[in-house]
């Protein structure tokens, strides 16, 4: 059994995690089709992650690199609890705030403000806590008066900025960021990076998935490299990123 002293410094613990997705070509989308295609279904399984084990220390900045389809986003989703591992165990200690792909978890029909409350509720925060954070969320996002308009009319930039703003202003203990910062303009990117730095110095654990290897080298304490669902290496950012880049530029 794990010793409490050691366990308490690890924010995320991934032990022998494998994730299998079920893929079906031409999956029937109605009962009628299902009956007609009975016995002729083409079901395949894809292992997005295979026996991945790693630990992320509390308060550290962890980077994940790898090609498209290497399992980075899947691993992040598992950490966020959106998916469950097929095998193995994943433990995240503390409130997880995730910013996955473009836009995070907004309900298109609700206004920005309502979505902030809804997101807060999903993260376990009450209305009072969210109301207290509302001003800084609106400020940071630069959405302005549009906060009371339904988010479906937002531009993709506004959508993303509000998503990021919520994710970082709810005092997350673990912040998962998937590539999103690349979408905003230069000025917003800078603010995001600054904000992540200040969160980290406040004790927040940050996991960043990025194709920007320069950014990963600059920000991260440790980096993991995923290749075809396997964890190729994990450790010092420069070493891992160099190895990844050498591999990436090799002719296949």
């Amino acid at each position: 059994m794990s010793e409490p002293t050691r366990a308490s410094v690890q924010a995320v613990e991934v032990s022998d995690v494998s994730k299998r997705f079920r893929l079906e070509l031409n999956r029937p989308t109605s009962v009628k089709e299902a009956v007609l295609s009975f016995g002729r279904r083409d079901v395949r399984h894809l292992w997005a992650l295979r026996d991945v084990s790693l630990t992320i220390d509390k308060g550290s900045f962890f980077g994940l690199v790898g090609h498209n389809g290497s399992g980075k986003s899947t691993l992040l989703r598992l950490m966020a609890g959106i998916h469950r591992p097929t095998e193995g165990r994943i433990t995240a200690r503390g409130r997880v705030s995730a910013l996955l792909e473009l836009g995070s978890g907004f309900h298109p029909e609700l206004t920005g403000r309502e979505n902030v409350f809804l997101n807060g509720a999903m993260l376990g925060l009450g209305r009072r806590q969210m109301a207290a954070a509302m001003d800084s969320i609106i400020d940071f996002s630069g959405v302005g008066d549009q906060i009371d308009a339904p988010v479906k009319i937002y531009s993709s930039g506004m959508y993303m900025r509000l998503g990021f703003s919520v994710a970082v202003n709810v005092e997350p203990e673990i912040l998962l960021v998937d590539e999103v910062i690349a979408v905003g303009d230069e000025e917003f990117q800078q603010r995001c990076l600054q904000h992540m730095e200040s969160l980290r110095s406040g004790g927040t654990t940050i996991v960043l998935v990025s194709h920007d290897t320069g950014l990963v080298r600059e920000l991260c304490d440790r980096v993991g490299w995923l290749d075809g669902g396997h964890l190729r290496s994990v450790g010092d950012p420069d070493e891992v990123v160099d190895a990844y880049l050498v591999h990436a530029t090799e002719p296949t």
């Binding site: 029937p28 966020a80 959106i82 998916h83 996955l100 029909e109 309502e114 509720a121």
Partner: protein, 281 residues
């Protein structure tokens, strides 16, 4: 008599963090559903009464006036108004119908969201059901006010909310299952509409149970109507608000067993399957 201030009732209600999160989400989704229903109408809540009242008027015209169906007398014997007999069953049916149908829509409304952030998906359906129950309470209130005008009220009215709550649980149980299956096979929502429109005539809403023949076309019709779980729920509501009788304990027990059983099984099925649905591309 001494009052025990340190007893459990004196303490504020304390929920686990997960339960608190769930309760907040249910509230958020309920508010969202309520707003979606009434935001665009100046008449607001009153507008929502138009549909059930129209249904009462149309069925009363067809069955009460044209077919001359007669309703049993109310408790005080003053009224044999078919429309009120109908209304007292319809109030419960509307709760059931709206929740079963709505479950699939509420599920679809959050399925994209659920792929991006984890939350217990069942809270969206429970929230929708809570909003429906609130809206139906208004219908029930109209019914009770009419009954009060006719001086046909009694303490048995307390069983009306009980019946509506049981209809909610029963409908949610079925709605959980329908939402999961519909997420995979999109024609389930059309099938559900058909099944529900048949179901409406399988419960004594527009007719009284005593006119149902024992057998017709070789089918034990009376038995089928009697076995329909909603029959017991509607019987409880009718006793409560129309006949002003204490509901038959057998009806109440049957209704409660079906409602709670269906809810528990439906929720367990939903929880088992909803994770897989959020993983679909």
């Amino acid at each position: 008599m001494a009052v025990n201030h340190t007893g459990p009732s004196a303490r504020p209600l304390r929920l686990s963090p997960a339960a608190r999160t769930g309760a907040r989400l249910v509230r958020s989704f309920a508010e969202r559903e309520t707003k979606a229903l009434y935001k665009r109408n100046v008449l607001g809540w009153l507008w929502s009464l138009l549909k059930p009242l129209t249904t009462v008027a149309v069925y009363s015209l067809v069955f009460g006036v044209i077919y001359r169906a007669t309703a049993p007398s109310t408790a005080n014997g003053q009224a044999e108004v078919f429309a009120l007999y109908l209304f007292s069953g319809l109030v419960v049916w509307n709760v059931f119908y709206t929740i079963v149908n709505g479950s699939m829509r509420w599920m679809d409304g959050v399925s994209e969201l659920r792929k991006k952030i984890y939350f217990p998906t069942e809270t969206a359906l429970i929230g929708g059901a809570a909003a429906t129950l609130l809206q139906s309470s208004l219908e029930a209130l109209v019914l009770v006010v009419i009954m009060a005008v006719l001086a046909n009220v009694s303490w048995t009215l307390v069983f009306l909310p009980v019946a509506m709550l049981l209809a909610t649980l029963f409908a949610l149980g079925l709605g959980f299952a329908a939402a999961i299956v519909n997420a995979r096979y999109r024609d389930i929502q059309h099938l559900t509409t058909i099944v529900l429109s048949v179901g409406f005539f399988m419960v004594p809403i527009v007719y009284t149970p005593d006119i149902v023949p024992d057998r017709a076309y070789g089918l034990p019709v009376a038995r089928l109507v009697e076995l329909n779980p909603l029959n017991s729920v509607i019987a409880v509501a009718r006793d409560a608000v129309y006949f002003l009788d204490t509901p038959d304990i057998a009806d109440l027990a049957t209704a409660a067993a079906w409602a709670i059983g269906t809810f528990v099984v439906g929720l367990a099925f939903f929880r088992r399957r909803s994770m897989a649905i959020s993983e679909e591309p």
